[in-house]
């Protein structure tokens, strides 16, 4: 059993195994399942993630108020245009993250990761790395298990609820999970996964949850895209050998404390941030006919 990133890292290093191996063994004890059942269960969720990451790429979906209808297909078309700044790969990652968000907002089927509002980040990052670098499905699923295992440490010691910790706790933690999984999928060490996790989370420290009209659309979808990219650059910094002195457990704790310091207006109540702008208020009036 592990209850911190430090413990998880020590267990992987003592046995010279990847993070996902310790996470699987822990889950077998935790849920009283066989290894095959744990993997099968994650695979089912992976299938849902694959579908939601693709579904809105070609076809705009109807969303309440139409706030993000077509956001994924627009980005996907651009990703293939050959004239992007960040290249096809990064733009495809963003399009897939947006697709998951658009599916979620259209009352489609998604797998929360770790929440419904942040469901696009981990799938977009891991699926697109797997495709771009010819990874096997087993490898992508192993990385998904690593990302999920890192998420359990946050749930146990802090929060992943926007109403408690702001967007840093939802999209920020999703980015950190995705970064840890991306490092493993790219051949990095468990220590590098921890480093990438920390880097992704410090990049969003203090990010508020300010949903326009209280809907899981703006800025949630856009932040799924930007946090997917945060995961990629954090993974690349760690893989490149960047040394970050603050341990992941302390970064999680800092994120939690920052969340507690956020006023209620900035925690999912739609009373502050982008949700409190004039235009956001107009949008709210239009949708709810107030």
């Amino acid at each position: 059993m592990y209850h911190s990133c430090r413990q998880l890292l020590e267990m992987t290093e003592a046995r010279k195994v990847p993070i996902h191996e310790i996470v699987i063994e822990n889950e077998m004890k935790n849920s009283n399942l066989s290894r095959a059942e744990v993997i099968e269960n994650i695979k089912k969720r992976y299938r849902i993630m694959q579908t939601s990451a693709e579904r809105a790429l070609e076809q705009p979906l109807s969303t309440e108020g139409g706030l993000i209808t077509g956001i994924a297909s627009t980005q996907y078309r651009y990703s293939k245009s050959g004239s992007t700044l960040c290249g096809r790969f990064v733009n495809t990652v963003m399009a897939r993250a947006l697709s998951c968000s658009e599916v979620n907002a259209s009352m489609g089927k998604i797998c929360a990761m770790p929440t419904a509002g942040s469901c696009g980040i981990v799938p977009a990052v891991l699926i697109t790395i797997g495709e771009e670098y010819n990874k096997t499905e087993e490898e992508v699923i192993a990385a998904l298990i690593t990302a999920s295992g890192m998420g359990t440490i946050v749930v146990e010691n802090a929060t992943v609820a926007g109403s408690e910790g702001g967007c840093q706790a939802e999209c920020g933690v999703a980015a950190a999970m995705a970064a840890a999984g991306a490092v493993e999928l790219s051949g990095g060490t468990p220590a590098m996964s921890m480093e990438a996790f920390s880097l992704a989370l410090i990049n969003v420290m203090g990010l508020v949850c300010d949903p326009v009209a209280g809907l899981v659309q703006i800025p949630c979808a856009q932040r799924n895209a930007s946090q997917a990219v945060n995961a990629l650059l954090s993974a690349d910094m760690a893989l490149g050998g960047a040394v970050f002195p603050i341990p992941a457990d302390e970064v999680i704790d800092a994120m939690y404390k920052v969340g507690k310091l956020l006023p209620v207006q900035l925690r999912e109540t739609a009373m502050g941030g982008i949700a409190a702008t004039e235009t956001a208020k107009d949008i709210t009036d239009r949708i709810f006919h107030r």
């Binding site: 108020g65 009352m107 489609g108 089927k109 509002g117 998904l144 359990t152 146990e156």
Partner: protein, 217 residues
Amino acid sequence: MGVSIFQVAGPVMIGPSSSHTAGAARLGRIAAKLADDFDFVSFGLHGSFAKTGKGHGTDKALLAGVMGIREDDEAIADAYAIADEATIGYEFHDVELTGIHENSVRIAFYKNGELLCKVDGSSLGGGEVMISRINGYEVELSGNLPTIFVRQLDTRGVLSHITTVLAEGGINIATMKVSRKNRSEEATCVIEVDEEIEEGLLKKIENNPNIYAVRFI
């Protein structure tokens, strides 16, 4: 107990919100198991369900739920059409309930204009729910364990009849909550158990003059 990776990678659900959509569907589904066949259902939306429910499809999720549609079934989005097809009437209004969670609903089931059952429940986040009142009786029903709901006369021997039948059927009781309004009148009993219950065992519980109804959730 550590946190499961399936709590992080999950639930699989219909968007957009685990509390306002997935939890609402689950509330509807559990509540409907407490009612007989109904032809009309009324939803009183409280707090955040009333304020932002529409944008989260809370109405569709509740209606789908009472028709037995699960929180991971995309049919939720078509709840109105499915209800119309099944000639189930429905109505939504805002209410202010007291002493209850922000995301709450009062669901009333009717047949031929007659009230069958009235259920208050809350969506607690992450898809978790709690039924807190049934026909005005205080209960605590999460739907996470197999649950038996009994309406009985408040008199000696009824509870021992129920527990004896369960014990003889090899069923272990996890929790039990009895609630009454007045002495020697109607009372309710919510029993959470560790095993699934067969129809025959429910009939045995019902086979007592002081027991009015038994439901399995």
